[in-house]
């Protein structure tokens, strides 16, 4: 029994503690001040002050992806709340569980266009899983419980809780506070969804399809990472020698060093993955939604395949690609049950594997290997590295030390996705669905808090980095050992690539004249280095990895380089363009 006088804001804090929340990312303002006041006396709720509310949402997102727990962000009313929108949309597209708390003007002035009043509930409806406006302090415990339950359950997603200032400030009588909430508590982490009894029938059909398939492939999406079922997928694949394709958001669900891996599918996927999809007679999709960047034109996707989709959210089924069979349920339930129903046919598939091996699973072989200092650069060691070389060296450094990485959006994102190989679960964070530039740095902040035991890297292009670079101040204030890397090509690289390839080289508004990035980092108090030559890359990465506080690395790469392979827009997956053979290196010091 707690007899301490309290108010709505303190009650909200109680609810957060009860939900297992330990950290919040936010930025204060008038309408959320009662809550910030309550936070002041709550050392168990750590608050991280970001410099822009978009970063609060991305940091909560990075925290959630790294830990599997619900991320929490907060903002004041009006502009604070509107600044959250991009982060909420990013989380919604990638099924990330978030709870966003926003201050709102007092209920007695709501609807009058009061100072900093905005209908954030209305504004965020399309980009949230659910939203609440708390109109009375009595509703606080139930709303908070429901908000966390909705965020975690089924396909996870962001939930908004709008908190008018008077509700936060309302005195809560002790007898109210000790009243049991009518909504039961939910556990942290995402919850297994209930199982439909008809499921087992469908599972039997799926197993039969696999037993009869000659050219099966598995496609793995973020659902496998979120449901922590990577091990089960690996066991299933190994038992049947099934080739495994990992989408951008499922990269960390299955190692691409594994002999069964075919790599990433879609627009910048490998030849082996894309051609396998087009020739497969069975696709087992686990926790993915067949995004258009993965499928190309839906009508031409996997023309010979029966498709079985295992997915927790029935609403995703058939939104783009229409599966022949849908196994709707939590992968933690459905995958083991499916495995139990299949007969091991590992002996089969030699012909299929023979065919698969004729296609490359390496996105590029035209990379100087910068793994060892003094390695042969063909006399070009004083030249800037290519973006791909930078990505390959970064991926090795990060994965070699068991680190975690967030990437931004653009060419560097695709090169990193192609070069990261280990697939340790929940170690790769990127905005796959919304493609949000500015995501990497704030998401890395959240991930660094969530998994302090891992070396954390943020890798961004010079364009995206400049969208949220102010968060270097947050990194410094929190003394977070985040290794910030900017792959600087002097362009909005991915835009330039499209202009080169599809707009006859008219570079409209894609050239960037950036600041001296390292000087900016130093101005924030972050030790910084700039790499301009190939032969500096490895030592610079080692230097960054060894840091115990924030560090910054600018890698100046070749300006005009394209990401390959590439499926041109509107083309089928097997119409991909592979990397052109580069001209012989100059100056020619080779024999």
């Amino acid at each position: 029994m707690n007899d301490r006088p309290t108010n709505g804001a303190e009650w909200i804090c109680d609810s957060l503690v009860e939900e297992g929340v330990r950290i919040l990312f936010g930025h204060p303002g008038g309408a959320i001040l009662p809550f910030y006041d309550a936070l002041h006396g709550r050392p168990e709720l750590r608050h991280v002050l970001v410099r822009h509310e978009q970063a609060a949402a991305h940091a909560a997102d990075g925290y959630a992806r790294a830990t599997g727990n619900v991320g929490v962000c907060l903002a004041t009313s009006g502009p604070g709340a509107t600044n959250l929108v991009t982060g909420l949309a990013t989380a919604a597209m990638d099924s990330v569980p978030l709870v966003a708390l926003t201050g709102q003007v007092p209920t007695n002035v709501m609807g009058t266009d009061a100072f900093q009043e905005v209908d954030v509930l209305g504004l965020t409806i399309p980009v949230t899983k659910h939203g609440f406006l708390v109109e009375s302090f009595e509703d606080i415990p139930d709303v908070m419980r429901e908000a966390f339950r909705v965020a975690r359950s089924g396909r996870p997603g962001p939930v908004l809780v709008d908190l008018p200032k008077n509700v936060q400030a309302a005195a809560v009588p002790a007898y109210w506070r000790n009243r049991p909430a009518s909504v039961p508590p939910s556990e942290n982490g995402t919850r297994p969804a209930p199982t439909d009894p008809r499921l087992y029938e469908v599972l039997g059909q799926a197993a039969e399809l696999l037993d009869n398939a000659l050219r099966p492939v598995i496609m793995v999406g973020r659902g496998v990472v979120a449901s922590e079922t990577s091990e089960c997928v690996r066991a299933l694949a190994e038992a049947h020698r099934l080739p495994v394709i990992t989408t951008l958001l499922g990269l960390d669900a299955f190692s691409r060093n594994h002999p069964l891996s075919l790599g990433m599918p879609g627009m910048h996927g490998t030849a082996r993955a894309n051609r396998a999809i087009q020739e497969a007679d069975l696709i087992l999709g686990f926790g993915l939604r067949f995004d258009d960047r993965v499928t190309g034109p839906v009508a031409s996707f996997a023309p010979a395949a029966q498709i079985v989709l295992f997915e927790v959210d029935p609403a995703v089924v058939g939104r783009t690609v229409k599966p022949d069979l849908a196994v709707v349920g939590d992968l933690r339930t459905t995958l083991p049950a499916f495995r139990g129903r299949t007969r091991s046919r590992a002996h089969r598939g030699e012909e299929w594997w023979g065919r698969l091996r004729t296609w490359s699973r390496d996105p590029s072989s035209t990379v100087f290997d910068a793994a060892g200092e003094g390695s042969p650069f063909g006399g070009l060691e004083d030249q800037p590295p290519t973006g791909r070389e930078a990505a390959r060296a970064l991926a090795r450094q990060i994965e070699g030390a068991g680190g975690q990485v967030s990437t931004d959006v653009g060419q560097h994102q695709m090169w990193m996705a192609q070069e990261l190989k280990e697939g340790a679960p929940a170690t790769h964070f990127t905005s796959g669905g919304l493609g949000t530039m500015g995501y990497a740095l704030p998401a890395a902040i959240g991930a660094a808090f969530g998994r302090a035991d891992r070396a954390t890297w943020a890798v961004a292009g010079d364009g995206g980095f400049q969208m949220t670079l102010q968060e270097m101040a947050t990194v410094v204030q929190e003394d977070l050992p985040v290794r910030i890397v900017v792959v600087n090509n002097g362009y909005l690289g991915m835009v330039r690539q499209w202009q080169e390839l599809f707009f006859e080289g008219r570079y409209s508004a894609s050239r960037l004249s950036g600041p001296d990035m390292s000087a900016v980092a130093r101005a924030y108090g972050i030790p910084a280095r700039t790499v301009t030559r190939r032969d500096e890359l490895t030592s610079a990465l080692r230097w960054a990895d060894a840091a115990t506080g924030p560090v910054f690395l600018e890698i100046r790469v070749v300006n005009e380089e394209n990401v390959y392979p590439l499926v041109p827009p509107g083309a089928r997956l097997d119409e991909m363009v592979e990397e052109p053979i580069p001209p012989a290196p100059e100056p020619a010091t080779l024999p």
Binding site: I125, P314, A315
Partner: protein, 108 residues
């Protein structure tokens, strides 16, 4: 195989759906937002309070057969959409199906 892998070519039909909502801020807007986002043609809408904190909503929507099930499932998954007694899937009832030519938009 690959038959009907998309639903873009089907003709929409106008149907009447009944929902019972928890009458909370944003509940009705969320239903309408979902329909608009999924490009379901809204042909008619009426609603009435059902007791203190519930709302009954009647929607006339233009949907293709393939869209129907998916959107119904998605509607039923909204936190403020409640189960209507004895109905499957949760909270949704297909009352009627009109002639396919009755003034729908393309519904895709």
């Amino acid at each position: 195989m690959n038959k009907g892998r998309t639903d873009g070519t089907e003709r929409p039909e106008v149907e009447t759906w009944i929902l019972r909502l928890r009458d909370r801020p944003g509940a009705l807007e969320r239903v309408l937002s979902l329909l608009r986002r999924r490009r379901v043609g809204l042909e008619g809408l009426s609603f009435a309070k059902a007791g203190e904190d519930r709302l009954d909503v009647e929607l006339h929507v233009g949907v293709t057969v393939v869209q129907r099930e998916r959107i119904q499932v998605e509607l039923a998954g909204l936190a403020d959409v409640e189960a209507a007694e004895g109905e499957e899937p949760v909270g949704l009832r297909r009352l009627d199906s009109f002639n396919e030519n009755e003034g729908t938009n393309d519904g895709t």
